[in-house]
Symmetry: C2
């Protein structure tokens, strides 16, 4: 059983209604709902110390959760941070630098650290980042709202972080260039998420953490739809083409590479125009073929199977 | 720098006002506040797999956080659960049993699992348990409300879990008897916490996770007071005396042993009587000597220095 199936199994077993989106949505007051998300980052599984800096890691721990808040159209408010720290890191000032990086991003969006926990770890750093945010009552943008005919958009270039990961894995560079910095210090689409939420623009949304093919599958499954992606329309960084070497390799990274933390959402050109949002990229359409997700390249269609990151 | 000093350093460095109690208190609506807490449990630091069962561990992961909600006088509502799981545990059904144990306790208090995360771990299980609860507006019971003359109470016997830990460490038994079960499957004082919160009974409160000497120090530091504990008045389980062998050893466990997850609070006999609460134990008094915490045994007083558990 993979991790997504296991989560579905637990959801069904215990009738857990709030599970299955980027954030849980809970009633707050008459005008707003509380949204909450948690992300666990494990050393040597989700990151490697030698590829990054304590400041970048603090930044990223917050960014990945901010991205989930953005994916619901929410405004981030507060955070909890739990860390299991090896003795060596406790002694060498790592945590100070980590919190500086965390706070540098938090202060931009006025996210307040309100709690968490510190434990000791015998084997590697483990971080759990929880964020609470707000959305207007019943206005959280879910994965399940896509309808046939909707256009599919992304907020920015894809495959960048996956390219960065390959560079880091090759040992040829540490964090520095466009690709590696996207991997080590991703910028969440917080402002776009809030705009999409406030103006009822997006019909459905998810953040691109696992990879386009996987995350689009999650969205289509929740919506009971299919989709076609126009591979040639996917935006990418110029550096990624240089790195990838071929169009084939580039498209592979863009379709399946994880951790870009861009937003993937559905809407219509008219809705976007009315909201004055023009800095996003149309990459496909929602279809009425439930479960059928295809990529179209120069008119040739093939099945797009989820190929993104999984822990299990 | 120990962990408590580090947390104070971060709190001061970034002006974090919500940190420093068992839960953060955040505004929810006109009538209530949201309270939140997180606890991280790390294999071979906070627990050992060979001493417990997956079900007990699931129970305990929830219990330790429920205890923090109780310590603010709150009603628990929802939970997030993040887990980093080694491959072997993923494959052998551990998580199913873990969630059964978690849910067994959650269902008693109608706590709903609303989210979390699953990651892979290369070295040992790591669990981060976050709970959200509710208190009446501005009525969360803080550590800082104790006043000279208040009596000090505990909700139940002390030193039990520490005795259980010693038995487990000795390798003579696994979870089964009163002492080991208190260590592996503690019961949070959720109902008492709610009663103390609803009737404005407690002036200050903390849960006994680190140990009486440490947790009382936290409470007195926050309140700007001192305290005297009447060591002979501390309640204990009969089995603990059998195990400890001597009164000295028994009192040592009761004063410094952690993880009983009983409540430590201050109030007056009159307030307790008015609220009809008589199933608690008076063990001392708050004094007006800030920072001076003493234990009194047969009229002889000595300094009670924090001797409870610390990760760093």
């Amino acid at each position: 059983m993979n991790e997504f199936n296991f989560i579905k199994h637990i959801k069904d077993r215990f009738s857990l209604h709030a599970i299955g989106d980027d954030c849980a949505v809970l009633p707050k007051d008459d005008r707003s709902d509380l949204i909450i998300t948690a992300d666990m980052l494990v050393e040597n599984v989700d990151f490697r110390m030698e590829w990054t800096t304590p400041e970048y890691l603090g930044h990223k721990a917050l960014a990945v959760s901010l991205s989930d808040i953005a994916a619901m159209g929410g405004i981030p408010r507060w955070a909890m941070l739990s860390i299991a720290v090896p003795e060596t890191l406790w002694a060498n000032g790592f945590l100070n630098a980590f919190y500086e990086g965390w706070h540098g991003l938090a202060s931009i969006f006025e996210v307040e650290l309100v709690g968490g926990d510190i434990s000791r770890s015998e084997n590697g750093l483990v971080i759990d980042s929880t964020i609470g945010g707000e959305v207007n009552k019943d206005k959280a943008i879910k994965r399940s709202g896509a309808r046939p005919g909707d256009s599919i958009y992304v907020s920015g270039p894809l495959g960048t972080a996956a390219g960065g990961l390959k560079i880091l894995e090759s040992g040829k560079a540490t964090a520095g260039g466009t690709l590696t910095m996207k991997q080590c210090r991703p910028l969440p689409q917080t402002r776009l998420g809030i705009r999409l939420g406030q103006y009822d623009v997006a019909t459905s949304m998810i953040d691109l953490s696992d990879g386009l093919s996987s995350d689009l599958t999650h969205l289509c499954t929740a919506s009971g739809t299919g989709a076609v992606i126009y591979a040639n329309d996917i935006p990418f960084e110029g550096e990624l083409l240089d790195f990838a070497g071929s169009a084939e390799s580039l498209i592979e990274l863009a379709l399946h590479g994880g951790e870009d933390f861009e937003l993937l959402f559905t809407s219509t050109p008219k809705r976007l125009q009315q909201a004055g949002i023009n800095d996003v990229f149309r990459i496909g359409e929602i279809t009425d073929n439930p479960g059928l997700i295809e990529s179209d390249r120069n008119g040739e269609r093939e099945l797009l199977l989820p190929g993104g990151f999984r822990h299990f």
